[in-house]
């Protein structure tokens, strides 16, 4: 581990393209060993932030440090980084093997065995020219190139774009293994299930500013659970009239034989409360990141999103 506790530190980052201000004083810290989700709607500034971290774009103000070093010291920072983007362009006139050999030459030149292992795992033929591969298979080559040199930090920008569900599962396993080995991950994704499954913390960004950083475990334990009840209309009516008697229970939605409630508090009390009613089926769902995301970014009456 490095001397500093963080893997990535962004301080007061501003970035504008002509008159369009993309990032506004963005400050964040990603701890070593954590998986940090970076979420926001399209145009919020996620990819711009990632490109600034990688020194592809230059911030107008502020600075970036990777493991305590300025991100401009490429020879010190970049060997520790693996990068994968959903929009990544690879040298299409090379074969997968030729490209990965080139990547290998950029690092310690001992990564080809690792690359071949990952290629077998992802079931990709490295002899085929990249231009002849499907976008999903090209993305697999990108994933191999990001992981093959055993980086300490993975920076992922919509990484599973183009992956089928089976490869997505392999991807999730690979990232979990990477974390177990002490690796740090900074990832932006629109697939919130994936973020919820993988991330320790999530950062929500809107119009270039951070509007919240939340611990995923905390979100799932403290936020309201969703209670879905199936019962005959009479029983549902009864529950509806009495639901205020249990603190923390609120009605979300109701139809003839179905009711959706929100609940925060002791689940045992909820079960005691429901046990006196005749119900056909009961589902208790953990709160999803998607709901929090939609809640954070839902449009207000003025047409803006809400923070």
């Amino acid at each position: 581990m490095e001397d500093v506790a963080y893997a990535i530190k962004l301080v007061d980052i501003d970035k504008s393209f002509k008159k369009n201000r993309i990032l506004r004083g963005l400050t964040l810290e990603v701890n070593q060993g954590e998986i940090y989700g970076f979420l926001g709607p399209n145009g919020a500034g996620k990819t711009t932030t990632i490109r600034i971290i990688l020194d592809i774009l230059r911030a107008d103000n502020g600075y970036v440090e990777i493991f305590g070093e300025s991100n401009k010291k490429i020879s010190k920072t970049h060997p520790k980084i693996g990068y994968l983007s959903g929009e990544m362009t690879l040298d299409s006139d090379l074969s997968g093997e030729q490209y990965l050999k080139f990547v290998n030459s950029r690092y310690h030149k001992k990564s080809m065995a690792n690359a071949n292992f990952l290629a077998d795992l992802l079931k990709i033929d490295l002899k085929t020219k990249i231009s002849k591969l499907s976008s999903g298979n090209r993305q697999k080559i990108g994933l191999i190139s990001a992981l093959m040199h055993n980086p300490k930090l993975l920076i992922l920008d919509e990484p599973t774009q183009g992956f089928d569900p089976l490869v997505q599962q392999i991807f999730i396993k690979l990232i979990k293994t990477f974390k177990k080995k002490g690796g740090t991950v900074f990832m932006s994704s629109h697939i919130l299930e994936e973020v919820q499954e993988l991330c320790d913390r999530v950062c929500f960004i809107k119009e270039g500013s951070i509007i919240g950083v939340k611990d995923v475990k905390e979100i799932t334990s403290s936020a309201r659970k969703k209670i879905i009840i199936k019962a005959d209309p009479k029983a549902l009516e009864k529950i509806k009239h009495q639901h205020n008697s249990l603190p923390g229970l609120n009605l979300i939605n109701q139809s003839d034989d179905f009711m959706e409630l929100g609940f925060s508090g002791d689940v045992n009390k909820l079960i005691d409360y429901l046990s006196v009613h005749k119900i056909d089926d009961l589902t208790i769902k953990e709160p999803e990141l998607e709901e929090i995301f939609i809640d954070l970014y839902k449009p207000t009456k003025s047409g803006n999103t809400e923070s």
């Binding site: 490109r51 592809i56 970049h78 980084i81 040298d91 190139s145």
Partner: protein, 256 residues
């Protein structure tokens, strides 16, 4: 650099055969020029046009023919096109495609990326010049003439420098802006105006005051080394390199 040369192998190969073929073909025409029939037809042209064409009597000698017919226009014109194409392709086109972004995300500094591109372009231009030289030597062999290797080397060096400098103008605009239009447009227009200026200066007196602004003014097709002109072309190229490195290191990389 090796990766770039490998990726451009077919471009290099086709240009190699094309330029080599041109060299052979041009030499194959020499006996016709030597007989004087073609040259005498130019004597009927008006004096200003004759000035534009240059000294046609030298075309009847092998050294005059190679320097004036092959190296005064054809070689620089074609290799400048190659040079601008390669520099534009390696800078702005790679950047627009997102290749530069991917390279930067790997363990590559901006200077390293640019220097590798420049070295690859150097090698490709040198291969272009060598192809022409080989074509000329092959052509000479076919028509049973000889020409000094030393003089061919001088002509090749001058051609290399002028072509490289126009390519480096493309590099400057590619490094400063990343815009493909500028990397092709600006050096092409500059090359055209430079050539026009240098060729017209003999007939239009007023152009004499600005003739030094043309890079072709420093391009010698003489058979001896003009050290001053070579130095000017080298210094021009050096400054273009420095500007490119500074510019490329300071700006945002264009992404796809």
């Amino acid at each position: 650099m090796t990766k770039i040369l490998f990726q451009k192998r077919f471009v290099i190969l086709w240009w190699f055969f094309g330029l080599c073929g041109l060299g052979v073909l041009m030499m194959y025409f020499f006996p016709a020029f030597k007989s004087g029939n073609i040259v005498s037809s130019f004597s009927s042209l008006p004096p200003p046009v004759q000035k534009l064409i240059g000294d046609t009597t030298s075309w009847t000698t092998i050294s005059g023919y190679i320097s004036q017919q092959i190296f005064s226009l054809r070689v620089p014109l074609l290799v400048i096109i190659l040079s601008i194409y390669i520099f534009s392709n390696l800078t702005s086109v790679d950047e627009r495609k997102g290749i530069t972004e991917t390279s930067l995300a790997l363990n590559n500094s901006r200077s390293k990326i640019l220097i590798n591109k420049i070295l690859a372009a150097f090698v490709i231009i040198i291969i272009g010049i060598i192809a022409i030289d080989l074509g000329i030597l092959l052509g000479l062999h076919l028509i049973h003439y000889t020409f000094s290797y030393h003089q061919l080397l001088i002509l090749s060096l001058n051609s290399f420098l002028i072509c490289l400098d126009f390519g480096l103008i493309s590099l400057v605009f590619g490094s400063l802006s990343g815009r493909a239009g500028l990397t092709i447009g600006v050096p092409s227009v500059f090359a055209f105006l430079s050539y026009l200026l240098t060729t017209m200066v003999g007939t239009v007196e007023s152009l004499k005051t600005v003739e030094k602004l043309s890079l072709f003014h420093y391009y010698s097709t003489g058979l001896t080394i003009n050290k001053k002109y070579i130095l000017i072309l080298v210094i021009f190229g050096f400054f273009a390199l420095i500007i490119s490195l500074i510019g490329f290191n300071r700006r945002d990389i264009r992404t796809n």
